[in-house]
Every structure is written in C-alpha cells, then in structure tokens.
Amino acid sequence: MHRMLLAVVMIVVSAMTSHAITLDEIIAKNIEAKGGMTAMKALKSMRTTGTMTMSMMGGMEMKIKQMIKRSNLMRAETEVQGMNIVIGYDGQKAWMINPMMGSEPQIMDEAQSAEYAMQADIDGELVDWKTKGHTAEYVGTGDVDGSTAYKVKLTTKKGEVRMYFIDAVTFLDLKVESKTEQMGQPVDVEVVMSNYQEVAGLQMPHQIDTRSGGQTMMSLTIDKIEPNVTLEDSLFTVPKN
C-alpha cells in the first residue's frame, strides 16, 4: 500500500514538474505577475525618486530622480553638492551633462546609449520583444541566490545580450545579467531586484542592487514612484545651450 501510494505520488509530482515550460508561457506569466498587460499599457509615465548607496565608498549616498515616459524617453538626475548630473535618452541616443566636465551636453555613442535604451523601455524589454526587434530564447533554469529562476536570453535589436532570471515561483524578475561600460571598459554586471510593491496596479521593485563579481557595488533604494505624471518631451531631448 505504502509503496503504491508513493508511486502514485511520484507520478503526480513528476507530471506536475515535467511539463516543459515555453518562452511564451514564461513571458505571459511574467507580465501577469507584474500586473497584466492592461495595467502595463495604462502606465504612460513615471517619476522615481530614491537613494543610491555606493558600497565601495564608505556607503556614500546620492539622491537620484528618474523620469520615464512612453515611448522610450528617459531622464535621470543625480544631485551631488548642488551640482546636478543629468543623463537623458531621447528614444535614439543618450546624452549627459556632467557639470564637472562643462555645461555642454555630451552625446553618447551607440554602445553607451544602449544601457539607457533598456531603462527607457517603460514596459521592460521582454514585453512585445518581437515587435521591438529583439530576439528572446528560453535557455533553461538557473539559480539566483538559492531561488530557482527561468533564464530568458534576450538579444536586443542592436545585438546586446542580456540574461533575464525570472522567479519560478512568483514569475517576477529576480535578476538581469548584462554588460555595461565603466570608463570605456566592458564590465559584467548583475542587477538584482527585490522589495516589490504595487504602483498603479503594477508590481515594481523598490530595491535594485547592482553586483559585479558577486559583490554589491551599488544599491538603489526607491522611496517613491509616481505614475502617470506630466513630463514635457523637452526634458528628454538634448538641451540646446
């Protein structure tokens, strides 16, 4: 009797687990977990304020404000001692004003712009990836800090490769592995998301940690996300001096 029961259990359990999940299912569940496509598309803009803690520099903190507007517009402001470092993305290219290097906006090249293009995508890159010209591929499960995750490899239209780790339980984003540039050098980074809270019907991470080589380099703690605020397009275009 015992043995038979166990066999039944094994069959049922394996039936539950052996169904091979597909890319479309993962992305559909990911969108659903975040609040669904309707809520997602209803979000036209958002303004996020938070504190960036630099682990490497004695826990130095900086206030950060980021604005995103559909479609593909982004502006981030970091204030340090009264000076404002501004990075913008106008849907095509990224620019920066670093007062230490003068008041002229500097236009970033395509490689540098790519990182901001990702941030400017208000829905996230996995949503409508086909229409956006990216390619996505489910490449199996992986472990993120002891949690099982589905790995989705996204190759953007411009050829950058990013690995999304989607929690197998909640279907929320756990981590994104990508390449970034620091002083012109490619660096592999992991961006780990947690502290999800609901904003305008959407689950949004309020803690975003950037790790490199397994160590946390920067922690962004989000204080507030304001959905659907009015943001002029001029905020995002390259300022004319």
Binding site: E61, M100, D145, M163, Q185, S194, T216
Partner: protein, 1024 residues
C-alpha cells in the same frame, strides 16, 4: 481518492519542510580567488578566430575555458558551471560564435582530470549545451566540416584508467544531436588526433592510440595504435602501413598542410619515434627526422601545426616550441623564455610571425615567430596540490603546483593580491610546502619524488633534508606527491613518508623512522624503471607502494594515522611503536584503493574521517568513511549528489557536524556530519579541490585547487551558526564578528593597465549576517543602525536572498551636508565620520517583522593611538562636521536670496529704482556666496573658498584616527570664525537687509521676497 489527496498533501508538505541546504543558500558566504596567476597553469588547447586574432579561447587542464576579445589583455572564464578539464576546442570559423568544447584533457599525465563529454555554444560562450559523449572521459580533437558545419568529428581518447568501448572517432551530421562511432579499434585504443584535408573534407586521418594508466604504471603503445585514413567522411577506413615505423606504435600527431594538402605531416611514437611526411595526401610516408624534437615524451607533447603559409614549415610542441622550415628534416628550438612543456600552438594564417603557445605554465604570445614571447599574466589556472598556512597577521598561504614549483603569498592585502606579492620558494613540481612552526621564515618544500628541502627566506640558504635509509634498510620509495606534515598544535615536529613514516624534531637535520613498511610492498607495482611503454618515462609520477597521507591527532600526539597509495590505512596509538592496518575493516571500498586523506577528528580522539580515491583503478565513486572507534568499524558516508573522486575531508574544529569535502569536481559542505552535502559554488567553479586547511584564529577555510589557484572562505563562523536548531524563524540573525573601525591611508595601486591579475582580498567592512527561509520579494526590507540613545545613524537596504545573507554596514555616519556650488565638488566631505566605539543596535525591518541584534564597534588594534587622542580626533571631526553643515545652510540661504532676486528681476513692471535696489542686493548676495564657495567654472581652477578649505580640513582629520595636528586644531578655529562671520553676514542679508527691501516692495505694492526659514533649511539638508 480523498485520502490519497490528503496523503499526498502531507507528503508534499513534509518534503517542503525538510531543512535541506542547497548550493544557492550559501548566499553571502563566498569563496574569494586570490590566484595567483603569476605561474598560471597547464593549458591543454587554444582556439583562435582566424579572421580576428584578438578573439581566442584558452582551454585549461583543470581551470576551465577562458575567452579574450582583446588579444589577451583581459580574459573571462566562460565555462564555470561545467567540467573544468578541457580537452579540445574548435571554433566554427564561418560562425565564430559557435564553439565546440570537448572536456577531459588528452595530455594524460598522472594528475590528469576526467571530462564529461562535449559542449557547444552558439553565442560566444554565454550559454552552453551538452551534446553527449559523456562517458568518453577525454576528447583530444574536434573537427568541423568547413563546408557543412552540421558535420562534426570527435576524437575521443576514452577512459584512461579502465578498459572499455567508449572511445574512438565519433561523427555527427546534425550539429551533435546524434552520434555514430565511426572508428573503433579495441578497448584500450582511443583517438589521439584527427586531421581533415582542408581541400576535401571527406579525407580524414585518425591517429589511434593504445594506452592506459594505473596508479603504478603508464603504458603508451600497442597493437591498437596506428594511423587510419578515410576518403569517404569516415564511413570506411584503411590502416596506413606504407612508410610507417617498425613494430608497435604509440601516440601520433597528424596535420595536413593548408598550403598544399597533398603534404601531410605526422609525429609518430614507436620503438624508433620519428617525424614523418607524406606527399600523396597521406597514403604513403617517409621518415624525415629522429631526435629530441620528435621523441620527447610523445604522450605529453603530440601536437603539430602545419604552417598556414609555408608548406615546408611545421610547428611542434615539446619541452619547448620546436619548428622545422624544411619539411621536418631539421628542427630548431624557440620560445626559450616561455615555460617548458608545450601543449598547444596556434599560428596566425594572416601572419605566421604571430604564434600563440599553451604550456604547463600558461599562455605566451610571440610576434617574431618564436624568437621572443610575452607571458599573459592574467590566467589564474594555477594547479596546487596542497596548501598550508602560517600564523602571521595577515597569515600567508604556502603551496606547491604541477610543474610550477613552491610558492607563498599573502592571504589578504589592501588593494588586492597581485602576482608580485607571491614569492617563489622552490622549483620543479611542487606539492607540500610548510612553514616552520616556530619561525615562518624557515620553509620546508619538495620537488617530485620526495626531494625535501629547507629554505631560509631571510638568508636565502637552501639545504636538502631528504631522509636516507637507516642502516640495513632497503631503498626508500617516495611518491610523486610526498607528504610533508607539521601538526598544527606541535610546532617542533615534521613528518614525511616513504614506505615508512619519518619524523624530525630538528627541522629535518635528523629523521627517525617510526614505522615498519606500511605499504603492500607489492613487487609487481614497483617497476617504474620500466614504465612508459614505447618511450621510457620514469619521472617518479608512477612511484607506488608509498605513504601518501599522514596526520597526527590534534588531541593525542601519540595517535598517528597513515594512508598509502596502495590502499593501506594504518594507525598507531603509541607514537609509532606499533601500527595496525585497519584497511580491511573499511566496508564497500575495493581493496588497494588509494587513501587520499586522513583527518583525525579535532573533537574526539577515537574518530577519524578518511577519503579514498579509486579513480586510478577506474573507480570514480566518492568515498568518505568515518570511524569512531580508532578504525575497528567504519561508516560509509552517503555521498549521493557529490561528483568527483575524493581528495580531502576536513571536520570543522568548532562545530563537529560541519564537514568540508574536496573532490575532483569541487567543494561540498555537509551541515549534518555527512548525511547530506551541498555543492559550494559561490565564487568558484567545480574545480578539483586537492587540499584544504582551516585557519583557526581567522576562522577561514583555505582551498588548494588544481586549476584555479587558492580560494579562501572567510566566514566559517557564519556556517557554524547555521543549524536546524538555530534556524527557528523566517528571519534568523546569525552571529557577526565585531565591527572594526579602520581608515585607509594607502595610496592604492598605480596604473597597471588591464592585464594585471588582482586576487580578491577580504572585505573588512562591518556586516550583519542573517538567514532567510525564503527570498524576500515583496515589501520593504531595511536595516537600521541605532546608537545607545535610540537614534538612527544609518539605514541600509536589506539583502533578499534565500539562505545566508550578508549586508555590509557602513561604520560611518552620512556625509555632512555640504554647501552647494555651481563649480565643482568639495571632495573632502564626501565621506562621513566613523561612528564611535561602543555597542549599537542593528534592527532588521522586513515587512512587518522586526528583529534586533547588537553590534560591537571597536577600533583596529593595529592603531596605537591613546583613547584620549582618539577622542580628540572624534571631537574635532564632529566640530568640523557641524561647521560643514552650518555653512551648507548659510550658503543655501544666500543662494536662495540671490536666485529669488534674479527671478524677480525678470519682472518688466519693476520701477527703475527698485530694479537697482534688487540688483544691488542680488549682486551682494552673489558676492557673499562667491566668498563662501567656489564659483569659477572649470576643471582646474585652483580656487579654494571657505567651503573647500573646510571640506579639505574635515577630510584630513577624518582620515586619521589619532590626535589631530596643532595646525589642524588652529585652522579649525580660524575656519569656524569665518563660518560664524559668514553666517552672520548672510543672516544680516536675509534679515535686516531683506526687511528693508521688502518695505520698499510693499510701498510699491509688490510681493515681498520670502526665503525659507533657517530651521527648515537645516532640516531639509541634514535630515535632522
């Protein structure tokens, strides 16, 4: 049915609640790689993108696969989740992001690892797919049909230590989905090399090789060896006979000339090993050369490369890099400054002056056809056999490596551990390296075959201390990897082992044999002088019937354990007077299985853990056994889920349930005394862990890996705290080390470029450790540091991992609010002051859970400052902090006035007189602002106003924990006065002057000017 469902629910629930610790849950406990890369390690293959020589892959014997896209300036390990022993790499040159990797090195020296099949990436190494051939154990070559990349041939050597059919040439026509064995000779003959006619992919030549290893012998050559040729893509084969050497053959290497494929070259091991050439596409052959470049250790150096541009030029691996420019008749030797023992060569098809070499000591690049070469110093492939430590602060790491001598280096160093921080102690192959227990400048080291030496690092004197037979004794037998053991708690004693155990109490000047022959002394396993097969090879690598593991019980100096390579496990309880062989009592382990490690328990003198390693007899199981009665009875520990033969087991000296197991496939940790094991992968790949040692003072576990150097796990205290009893809630705080106040005055590193290897040093930041049953996904999670009065000093985000979490706690208050400026930063005030010594509360707020723990903050004892001086520094920093903030508020107010007035001046309805009034006050405000903070815009202005002077002074005082200088104290007074004056001036402006101005505005029936009150500005800027 209902009952069934209920039952199932119960079962599932029970399963879910079982506290099983899995790999990912180690979380914040990481292994840090300290390298070194200075000697690098054995490279088995190199593959380069033909059209872009900056992009290449390096395959290591035991250290995985590395990729560079910049000619070797930087490398990235791209295979760290998989088997670390690389046999062959092949790039699909038409699709260079498609790379095939065969695991299992084919340079089958005694210490070689084993692979687990074939892998392919189609995205340059981001993701890999396993494509079978898992049981072939080693892959020597992968050949892709250049016209149809779905067609791939694999040369598999097959199992080295056992006979079997998983070897030969395999072919796939569907990108590796299915395989057909297309050439098989016998159960000891695999394929050592495979070449394809570049002009006709149907023509193949396979070098079949009969060889085997056992722990006591190596044999290359036999009837199965030979060259086979196919002209139909491997469907049929013909054994080549015309022009072949007489008698049995051994290992051969073969290559078609890309310039003229009718020419084929081969180096063929035989009774008379030689270099051969065919001018008819491989049908018939003629001997061109016999000599050192050809006959040097064919099993280890059998790779030839036909030059891509000169048909008579051939490159060959050997003790050095060898080259012939006349079709193999005469040979020259190159790359003399490179490490000896070459295994891989790549020659640039666009420029054959450009050669990349893989050796026993890493990768070298030549740009002048081998005349000179450059070492790539950033591949940490170092292959340690053993590791030991000293008690210095910081402690040092000692160890010996495959063909790379004996070394020592620091366990930590500010700025990281560089290649230059490692010191070479001895040459040859290195194994055990042990510092003297009383004087760490005296070091014992050895080269292969028991050549023990003692080296004085102070005087640079070295002397041999190899024991010799006592009167009437037979010759001593020394293992390749002879033990040198110093008991951790008895500094005067050193042990070594031949077939006997030897002990010295006078630093090796005299040795006493304290045992009989402890081995089987089996004469059939003592014929190393006949070893090698066709080519005599007696390097001591196959020396057998020797003692290889010795350990004295940390609880009883008379209790000594010894394990032998031929399966004996011996114990004495009377310091060596009598010995007892307890091997026969160990159940389920085949007789003669190599005893790889003996670990007497540090908790119980009757308990011993032993690892046994049967791989040399073809038995790959992981054996860990335990006895609790001095070896009378044994328990085999369940190693389900553990991969790789066992090299070493250590029992934690504090928590007896905690075991560390090193196998050929990585590190495993058991929290339940060996009932279950979790693979430890945090920061390290599944690399062979050959030895481990625990630093009891520092609570560190130090690992010797055979392919990726030394790793250190700094946080054993945290692992010790993770027990089923301690994990009682969703969020459990684990004990943390005291938080240590430190400041760094180090100048850091200079501009090294990108090719410097920098080993990871330990983080000295304070940290809180805790265990989460589940990942924190939703809701706030923050960690507060509070002082005794309950004031929150800092808030940092929590870490959300399932399992063990580490959150570094800044021991600094926030940086002071600093006056704003339009012209640059005041860098001195970026960093807050260290918090005072004392006891703090750390509060973890996770959703609705709140858990508190305390944190003791002390100052590093390395500083010799008196408490009074430290307090003085703290007070001065606090005053300067307050001054920075006062100035910040003052400046904010004068800027507010200036900017408000500027805005009002835009009003066109202003009367001329009012405009003049406003302009005048605005200009005064601007002038006052510019006297308080920098205003000249530019990168190097040299300007330094009050804000900048104050910030600089604050930064200086903040950066030194001792008594501030008189100059700093005096300057603080001067600047404080200026802050007071500045504040008075600004308050005058926003007070009386602004009131007068507002009266005028009121008279003109206009809005008055309003500035935010000082208290509110203060709160806004400082958060207090």
């Amino acid at each position: 049915m209902k009952i069934l469902v209920l039952f199932m629910a119960t079962v599932t629930c029970a399963l879910a609640q079982t506290p099983s610790f899995t790999s990912g849950m180690f979380g914040g406990v990481r292994a840090r790689s300290i390298g070194p890369a200075t000697m690098s390690g054995r490279v088995s293959d190199i593959a380069v993108v033909d059209t872009n020589s900056s992009r290449f892959y390096v395959g290591a014997a035991g250290g995985g696969l590395w990729k560079t896209t910049n000619g070797g300036t930087t490398f990235k390990a791209v295979f760290d989740e998989y088997n670390q022993s690389i046999g062959a790499i092949a790039i699909d040159q038409r699709h260079p992001d498609t790379v095939w990797v065969g695991t299992g090195e084919s340079w089958v020296r005694n210490s070689v690892s084993a692979g687990d099949g074939l892998y392919r990436t189609t995205d340059g190494g981001v993701t890999w797919t396993h494509l079978g051939l898992a049981t072939t154990e080693r892959i020597s070559r992968i050949v892709i049909d250049p016209k149809n990349p779905a067609v791939v041939y694999v040369a598999a050597g097959g199992p080295l230590w056992s006979d079997g059919t998983d070897r030969g040439v395999y072919k796939s026509t569907d990108f590796g989905v299915t395989w057909t064995k297309i050439l098989y000779v016998n159960d000891r003959t695999g394929c050592a090399d495979l070449a394809m006619d570049p002009s006709n992919p149907s023509v193949l030549i396979a070098a079949m090789w009969e060889c085997y290893r056992r722990p006591w012998t190596f044999h290359s050559g036999g009837k199965g060896s030979g060259l086979h040729r196919s002209t139909d893509g491997g469907t049929t084969w013909t054994r080549i006979t015309t022009g072949m050497p007489e008698g049995d053959l051994g290992r051969a290497a073969v290559a078609f000339s890309p310039v003229d494929p009718s020419i084929v070259y081969a180096n063929i091991e035989a009774d008379s090993t030689g270099f051969f050439r065919s001018t008819d596409n491989g049908r018939s052959w003629e001997r061109r050369f016999s000599g050192f470049a050809s006959n040097i250790r064919p099993f280890y150096f059998s790779r030839i490369v036909a030059d891509p541009t000169h048909k008579d030029r051939i490159w060959k691996t050997g003790l050095n890099l060898h080259r012939s420019d006349d079709g193999g008749t005469t040979w020259s030797t190159h790359a003399g400054s490179a490490h000896s023992d070459h295994h891989a060569i790549w020659v640039n098809p666009a420029d054959d002056d450009h050669v990349i070499m893989g050796t026993d000591g890493g990768v070298y690049v030549s740009l002048d056809r081998g005349k000179t070469c450059r070492f790539l110093p950033n591949l940490p492939l170092s292959q340690f056999y053993h590791v030991s430590l000293d008690d210095r602060r910081p402690y040092n790491v000692y160890g010996g490596l495959q063909d790379n001598g004996s070394w020592t280096g620091p366990s930590r160093r500010e700025g990281g551990i560089t290649n230059a921080n490692w010191e070479l102690l001895g040459g040859g192959d290195g194994f055990h390296v042990v510092a003297d227990g009383n004087d760490p400048s005296i070091v014992y080291w050895e080269s292969q075959g028991g050549n023990l030496n003692r080296y004085d690092r102070t005087s640079n004197e070295a002397r041999s201390i190899k024991p010799t037979p006592e009167a009437g004794m037979p010759d001593l037998r020394w293992n390749w990897n002879t033990p040198i053991v110093r008991p951790s708690r008895r500094p005067d004693v050193v042990y070594t082992g031949s077939q006997y155990v030897h002990r010295s109490t006078d630093r090796g000047v005299t040795w006493k044999v304290i045992s009989p022959d402890l081995t089987t002394n089996d004469s059939t396993k003592l014929r190393q002088d006949e070893g090698g097969g066709l080519s005599l090879d007696n390097s001591s690598a196959e020396n057998h019937c020797t003692v290889v593991a010795i350990a004295e019980s940390p609880l009883d100096a008379n209790l000594i354990w010894a394990g032998t390579d031929d399966g004996n496990l011996q114990v004495t309880t009377n310091g060596g007077t009598t010995w007892k062989n307890v091997a026969a009592n160990v159940p389920s382990v085949p007789r003669y299985t190599w005893v790889s490690y003996v670990e007497p328990s540090p908790h119980d003198r009757r308990t011993i853990f032993v690892t046994l390693d049967g791989h040399g007899l073809g038995d790959m199981r992981t054996y860990v056994v335990r006895s609790t009665d001095l070896g009378s009875t044994w328990t085999m520990l369940d190693t389900t889920g553990v991969r790789g033969w066992a090299h070493v087991v250590r029992q934690d000296p504090v928590r007896a349930d905690l075991l560390y197991l090193g196998t050929e496939q990585g590190l495993y940790v058991s929290f339940d005394r060996g009932v279950s094991w979790a693979a430890f992968r945090n920061g390290m790949p599944p690399v062979a862990v050959r030895d481990m040692v625990i630093h009891e003072r520092e609570q560190d576990l130090v690992l010797a890996t055979h392919g990726r150097g030394i790793y250190i796990i700094d946080d054993l205290d945290v692992l010790r705290a993770v027990t089923p009893a301690s994990i009682t809630s969703d969020l459990t705080v684990l004990p943390s080390k005291p938080a240590v106040r430190r400041v760094s005055g180090s100048a850091g590193s200079w501009f090294n470029g990108d090719d410097a290897f920098i080993g990871e040093t330990v983080s000295t930041d304070a940290a809180v450790w805790y265990y989460l049953r589940d990942r924190h996904m939703r809701g706030k999670f923050e960690i507060l540091i509070m002082d005794a009065a309950g004031n929150t000093i800092r808030t940092v985000p929590g870490s959300p991992r399932r399992g063990i979490n580490k959150v570094e706690l800044p021991l600094r208050r926030k940086a002071p609010a600093t006056a704003a400026s339009d012209a640059g930063f005041a860098g001195g005030s970026f960093i807050g002051p260290l918090i005072a010594e004392g006891t703090y509360t750390v509060e973890l707020r996770k959703g609705t859970d709140t858990v508190r723990t305390s944190m003791v903050v002390v100052t590093d004892t390395i500083y010799k400052h008196s408490p009074a001086d430290r307090q003085m520094q703290q007070r001065l920093v606090d005053s300067l902090y307050a001054l920075n903030e006062e100035l910040a508020v003052t400046v904010a107010r004068v800027r507010a006035l200036r900017d408000t007035l500027s805005a009002r001046l835009a009003d066109s309805t202003l009367s001329e007189s009012l405009r003049e009034r406003l302009t005048s006050v605005r200009d005064t405000a601007a002038a006052v602002n510019n006297s308080l903070v920098n205003s000249k815009v530019g990168f190097v202005t040299g300007e330094e106003q009050l804000r900048e002077r104050l910030a600089t002074l604050y930064g200086e005082v903040n950066g030194f924990l001792g008594r501030p200088s008189e100059a700093q104290i005096v300057l603080t007074g001067v600047l404080a006065k200026r802050v007071t004056e500045g504040t008075a001036r600004v308050e005058g402006m926003v007070g009386a002057e602004m009131n007068l101005l507002n009266q005028d505005l009121r008279s003109a029936m206009m809005r008055v000017v309003v500035i935010e009150p000082r208290a509110s500005t203060y709160k806004r800027l400082t958060g207090r």
